[in-house]
Structure formats: C-alpha cells, structure tokens
C-alpha cells in the first residue's frame, strides 16, 4: 500500500463530538438552567454536523485520488511506546472507514436532531446529549483508529455509552439491568477481541515484525501463515478470537441476548446505537481485517454458519413479539446475521453495503416507531395501536417505505443489498445452498413480521386510548412532563403527527432507504457495482474482491462520473449466471409470500393469530414466543453459575483460608492459654507468694515504725549495747 497522505483535520471528526460531550457532561446542568434546552441541543448537534461536513470533505478528497492511493492519515501524537510496541494516536480514512464515518456522522446527526424533538419532556436532556455525543466520538474512534488498540478504545467506548444510554432512565431498575447486561455481554466479546489482538501481535513478533497498525498488518500478515497457536493455525485462532469480539458487539449467537433488552433505552438511541452504528462494528471490524480472515477459511465457515443461524432464529423470534421495538430489535439481529453471512462467504463489500443500506432503513424504522411511541405517550405494545395511518401520515409513509426496503422488495435499498448477499452465499466458494435456503427463509420471515407490524400499527382501528395510563407507568420518570408538555392532548384523545424535528429526519432516512440501493445495482440488473468498486482497494486483498482495477486517473469530475469511471473495468468481469435471476425471483417471491401471509392474518383476518399459532403448533410457538428460552438458560447456567462460584469462593476465602489463619491463631491462643495458666498459677503464684509474704510481714512490722524519734534511738542504743556485750563476752 502506498504512503498515506498526511492531513490534519481528521482528528476533528472525533474531537468535536468529544468536545460537545465534555461541555454538556461537565456544564450541561448549568447551561440547561441558564440558557435552556435549545443551547444543549445546539452544543450537541453542531459538532456532529461539522463532523459530517468534514467527513464529506474527506470523502471528496479521497475521491480525487487514484483508487490505490485513497488513504488519509492524521497522526496526532505518540500514545504507547513500549519496547517494540509503538502505537500512536492516529486516525485514518480509506474508502471503508470513509463509508462508515459518513453513516455515523450523517445518520448520527439526523438522530441527534430527532432526539431534540423526541426527548422534549426529558428533564436532564444534557446528560442524554453528553452520552450521545460521547457515543459518536467513540464510534468514530472505532472506525477511524489506525491500529487495533485505538479501534479497541472506540470498541469499548461505544459499549460504555451504550450502557449509559440503555440505562438512561436509571430510576427504573429494569433499564439499569438491561444496560449492565449489554455491557457484560459486550465484555465477553471484548475478551475475544483482546486475545486476538495479543495473539496477532506476538505471532508477528516471532519474525520481529510485531505491530497492531492496520496498514502494517495488511503488509505483514503473510508472516503468520504457517504459525500455530494452541495447536491450530494462527490465522484461524486469531480470526476466531476476533469473531468472538464481533459476536458480542454485533449481537450474534450466542451473545445476541443483550440487544433486545437494550430497547429499554430511548428510541433514538436504539436507532443510532442498536441499529445503525454500534452493532455493525463487528461487521466493520471483520471487513477491516478481511486480509486476515481470508487466510482462515475455517473461521469464515464458522462465521457464515453463525450468521445464518442468527438471521434465521432471530427472524422467527421476531414473528411472535408484541412490543414494537422488540420486533425491530430482533429484526436488527436478523439483519446483522445477513451481514455476517456476507462476511462468512467472503463477500465483504456486500456485507458493508448491507450495513450501509440497513443503517438507513432500520434507523428510519426505529425513528418511526419512536414517533409512534412518542405520540402514544410511551405506549409500545402493538396490541394497543392500530389505524395510525390516518393520524400520522408522514410517519406511516416513511415507515412503510422502510418496511418495503427491509422486506427486500425491489427497487428499495434492502432488495439490492440483501439479494447481493444471498447470491454471494450461493455462488461464492465459501457459500452453500443451505446458507441461501435459510437466508431466504429468514428474509421471508422478515417480510412477514415487518408487515405484521405495519398492519397491526397503521391499519385497522385505533385500539389505544384506555391503555395510556399503562404506558405512563412504564416510564414513570417522564409522566409528569408528558402531561405538562402535551397539555392539549390528554387521555383518550387521538394521536397526532409528530413535529417537524421528528418527521424531517424520517423523510430523509426514507429517501435513503429508497435511493441507496442504486449505489450497487448488480451487474445482472445492468448496474455498475459502484459501491463494490469504491471499496475494492481495501477489500480486494482476498480472492473475492473485484479484480484489481488497473487504470489511470480518471480525469472526469463529479461524483457520479468519477465513480462510474472506477467501475468500468470490473462491472462485467463476472459473467452473469442465469441462476442469479432465478434466485432473485425466488427470494422476492418468498418475501411477497410473507407479506401476503401477514396481510391474511392481520389485515384481512382470514386466519386469526391464535389459529395461526395453533397451526404452527404449541411447542414451536411457545419456543419462539419465549425467544427459545435462551435468556433463561443463560440465567440458569452462566449467571447463576458464576454467582454460585463467587459465593463458594467467598465462603472458601472466609472459612477455609481465613479460617486457617484464624485457626492457626486459635491454636497459638490455646497454647498460650495453657502456658498462661501455668504462668498464672505456678510462676505467678510463686511470685505472688513472695509478694504476699512481704506484705504480711510489712503489715506486722509496720508497728515498729512509730514515727517517734526516741523509739528509734532506743533501738539504736540497745543494738549498740548488745553488740558491745557480745564483743566483750
């Protein structure tokens, strides 16, 4: 890889949101009191907006470079220099990270804006925005970090912010618990991440080339090809460890359990963190190190399998949820599964593309559901909704568009990205028919439950009104304010469309859900793989990237022509398999069938849901309804087990170890006591006897001491006389 171009402005992408977080975090309470909520919102939103602009300019700077030269570096300072380990605080931008920062700052900015409207009844909004800005900074660090350790800083940082934001309404202990759960599960993933990092470093160090900097890793990674760790190939071990990290962050089996619970956070948080950005970090990380994963086909197989299983199982769970956000949560897990399928079959750019489109439509869905929840005063149960289409037209329209996108209906974004993945799952050498089959079925389930949601929420009659109080109880903290702010909108009244601050981002995101798909229209449909080619310089290292584009600088100006020029060479390098069209139609067909079924059950009511579950059979339905009891199993085994172990060890500590110490002390004490008794009664007895005798004698003899001089004189004289006579006689 060529030398990077040093630029000084990348740091501001990270530092500005961080600055916003610091200002709001330290002084937010005062600012809010003095200057009002508007100032807080401005302090929070402006840095993200500027960061977005900087990202865009970075994008254009990259675009102005040759594809192989697209690499900007901002080296801030030394960070950790110990021995051979030399890490700097440095940020870099290449096409891959550029895509991500655009998503993070762009969608992140929209969600910041949306939050202003959504949290208009939140008393300590400064805290919220401080967390949100901090999250943005951490996520950007994750994406921009030029070494694994800097990435890890962001990696853990987003986990922390996720914890803080899930537990934002901490006065309800359930929210706090959900936050802790998210953090701890993420930590299990982090554990894998660090192990992978250590193993990678020392494997390279064997040849004196230890490093954690991505661009050096890419050059030196071949050095580990014949090394072994714990008896398995080093590359396999390292990638598996990193994959553990990815499953934690990106909510894959078996570590996905935290994500549905994470819906306890405010809805914009769910949209930003638990749909668009943070959860995709695992995907990004694998793509970032695609050069390494390419060396470990075994790992890729594991990833594909896990991804497929996650996509399928989460989709089935989504079918039986009633909470509007839980449905979306499982849908997110499922979509992440698709991305991992892409990673697992080596179609990195397809995965990133799905990440990209998913960010738009899933954010839109979450924000739409947030709009509904906001309008219904924190009502989240879909059984209490219905008929909202006519009250909230904009929300409905955007939600519906995004639903079509996620269901994979052409020409919406999700169709292109998901279909690309399914096609690669079939056609890639790492893929297989099974992956395609389960993936398609998952897509069908997705279509079903998403439309189930649409029908339940927007169609039919409004079933709410009586249950408002219930909704309030869920978020007691906000209840007072809800009444104050929505003064003209009391109980029993009809819901109404949200404010422009909320609908604006919805519209923009929906536009994204429609349009982004066209960035990567597959060749089979006459497209140019613009997106694939944009990422090609980064992801080409493996065998599955597009063929290396070897062309001179395109003199053309403007994004479209520039991109088009890049693409030219590879667009049709893969021959069109007729099978691609068949698969495409089949998957669209499955999706349409899912939608039809949902329509039958929830709109036409030809089949009652109860009947439906009966048809499905009690056991599978219960299994799905209860999320396969995974949480319960974890609770019973891992958590209980750990706690029991900790109690046992603590008791061991208290009774055995400390007991041994105290026991030794007790033995010493017993010995001492025996000795003490001897001392008291024998030795001391003798001493005391002497004392007693002296005392007795003293008492007796004290009579002699009269205090009269003459009595002493008598004694003296008598004594002298006696001595005298004794001497004389």
């Amino acid at each position: 890889m060529s030398h990077p171009i040093e630029v000084g402005y990348l740091r501001w992408i990270v530092l500005l949101p961080l600055l916003g977080a610091i200002i709001n975090g330290l002084f937010g309470a005062h600012i809010q009191k003095r200057l009002g909520r508007g100032a807080i919102a401005a302090i929070a939103c402006t840095p993200v907006a500027i960061a977005f602009l900087i990202s865009v300019s970075a994008f254009f700077q990259l675009l102005g470079l040759e594809p192989n030269q697209r690499f900007l570096l901002d080296d801030m300072s030394k960070w950790i220099h110990v021995g051979d380990l030399k890490l700097n605080l440095a940020f870099w931008v290449d096409p891959l990270s550029c895509t991500l920062i655009l998503v993070v700052t762009g969608i992140g900015g929209l969600i910041h804006l949306y939050s202003v409207g959504y949290l208009d009844d939140e008393p300590s909004i400064w805290r919220y925005f401080a967390y949100l800005n901090l999250f943005t900074a951490a996520m950007l660090t994750l994406v921009l970090g030029d070494s694994l350790l800097v990435m890890f800083v962001g990696w853990e940082g987003v986990g922390l912010c996720s914890y803080a934001l899930i537990g934002f309404w901490y006065k309800d202990l359930n929210n706090a618990t959900a936050g802790s759960k998210a953090f701890i599960v993420n930590r299990i993933g982090d554990f894998g991440f660090v192990l992978g990092m250590f193993a990678l470093y020392w494997c390279l160090d064997e040849s004196g080339q230890g490093t954690l900097i991505f661009r050096e890793l890419a050059e030196r990674v071949h050095l580990i090809s014949d090394q072994k760790v714990f008896g398995i190939a080093a590359a396999t071990f390292i990638t598996l460890a990193f994959f553990v990290g990815a499953t934690g962050k990106s909510a894959q089996i078996p570590l996905y359990v935290w994500l549905p619970d994470a819906m306890a956070g405010p809805t914009p948080v769910s949209a930003l963190i638990h749909a668009a950005t943070m959860v995709t970090a695992g995907v990004y990380m694998i793509a970032r190190m695609s050069f390494l994963f390419d060396m470990a086909p075994d790992t890729l197989a594991v990833i594909a399998t896990i991804g497929t299983a996650t996509a399928f199982l989460a989709a089935t769970i989504g079918v039986a949820q009633w909470d509007i956000k839980k449905v979306l949560a499982y849908s997110t897990v499922s979509q992440l599964g698709f991305m991992f399928i892409a990673m697992g079959v080596g179609a990195y750019s397809a995965g990133i593309f799905h990440l990209f489109t998913h960010a738009f439509f899933k954010a839109c869905l979450f924000l739409g559901s947030g709009s509904i929840i906001h309008a219904l005063h924190h009502e989240q149960d879909m059984r209490n909704m219905g008929g909202l289409k006519k009250y909230m037209p904009i929300t409905f329209l955007t939600f519906f568009v995004s639903t079509l996108a996620i269901a994979g209906i052409p020409p919406f974004a999700g169709f292109f990205s998901k279909d690309e993945i399914l096609w690669k799952a079939w056609s890639s050498p790492h893929g297989s028919g099974w992956i395609w089959l389960f993936g398609s079925m998952a897509a069908g389930f997705t279509a079903f439950y998403m439309f189930r949601q649409v029908f339940l929420t927007f169609f039919g009659e409004y079933r709410g009104g009586q249950a408002h109080g219930h909704g309030h109880a869920d978020h007691g903290h906000a209840a007072d304010h809800a009444h104050a702010v929505h003064g003209g909108h009391g109980h029993g009244q009809e819901p109404h469309e949200s404010s422009k601050v909320i609908t604006g981002p919805l519209v923009l995101l929906a536009l994204g859900a429609i349009l982004t798909g066209f960035l990567n229209v597959p060749g089979a449909l006459g497209g140019h793989h613009i997106f694939d080619n944009w990422l090609a310089p980064v992801l080409q290292a493996g065998s599955h990237g597009a063929a290396s584009p070897a062309h001179g600088a395109a003199g053309a100006h403007g994004v479209a022509s520039e991109l088009a020029a890049d693409v030219e060479h590879v667009a049709h390098s893969v021959a069109h398999d007729p099978f691609e069209y068949i698969l495409m139609s089949v998957s669209v067909g499955i999706a349409l069938f899912g939608i039809f079924l949902a329509w039958l059950v929830y709109e036409k009511k030809a089949i009652s849901p109860e009947r439906f579950s009966e048809v499905l059979g009690g056991v599978p339905y219960n299994l799905v309804y209860n999320k396969y009891y995974v949480d319960e199993v974890y609770q019973a085994t891992l958590i209980r087990g750990t706690l029991a172990l900790s109690r046992i060890l603590s008791a061991f500590d208290r009774w055995i170890i400390d007991g041994a110490v105290n026991g030794a002390a007790a033995v010493v004490r017993v010995v001492a006591r025996v000795e003490g008794a001897f001392d008291t009664y024998v030795v001391d007895g003798a001493v005391n006897l002497v004392g007693a005798v002296s005392l007795w004698a003293g008492n007796r003899m004290r009579a002699i001491q009269t205090g009269h001089i003459y009595s002493y004189l008598y004694a003296i004289v008598i004594g002298v006389a006696v001595v005298l006579f004794v001497r004389l006689i």
Binding site: R702, G707, H708, Y710
Partner: protein
C-alpha cells in the same frame, strides 16, 4: 596521784557521752535532743584528740576532730532549721506529736 593519761580522758569522754545519750533518750523537745547530740559529738572529739596526743599519730586525730566540728555546725544549722519548720507546721516541737512518718 598518777600521771594524767589516756584513760582519764577516755573516762571524761565516756561520761559526757552517757550524758548526751541520756539527753537524747529522755528529751521530748527537739532542741534538747539536738543538744544531746552535740554532747555525743564532743565526747567523740575528746577521744580523737586524746588518741592523737597519746597515740603519737601526728595531726590526724585533730584534723578529724575539726571535721567533726564542721559537721556538727552543719548539722546544727540544718537541724535547727528543720525544728523551726516543724514548729511552724505543728505549732510544737514535741517529737511525740510529730509522728507523721508512722507506718
């Protein structure tokens, strides 16, 4: 009449001593007791000087007697001061009344 010899002096000294002893034993007046002590000291001095004269020992006996006189002076000064103190404290110098040191 025999020559005045050592024994004469010793007898005088003995009588003075016994008188002093008797004084010390019978007086209840502190000053009286002190006077008895002075008599005893004088009898010792007579002995010293007599032994010095008849023992042929040069000046040693006389020097000792001078030391004794010196000590007697010191003793008298201290003793009388104490007596005065006792008198102030107890309003009497009767040694029977001053038995604070009784065991």
């Amino acid at each position: 009449m025999i020559e005045i010899g050592l024994h004469h002096y010793l007898v005088v000294s003995l009588i003075v001593f016994l008188a002093g002893l008797f004084t010390v034993l019978t007086r209840r007046n502190a000053i009286g007791i002190l006077m008895g002590v002075e008599l005893i000291l004088n009898s010792a001095n007579i002995n010293y000087v007599a032994f010095s004269r008849f023992g042929g020992g040069g000046y040693d006996g006389q020097i000792f007697s001078i030391f004794v006189i010196m000590l007697a002076a010191a003793e008298a000064a201290i003793g009388l001061a104490i007596v005065l103190g006792i008198y102030r404290k107890f309003e009497t110098i009767d040694v029977e009344a001053t038995d604070t040191l009784r065991g």
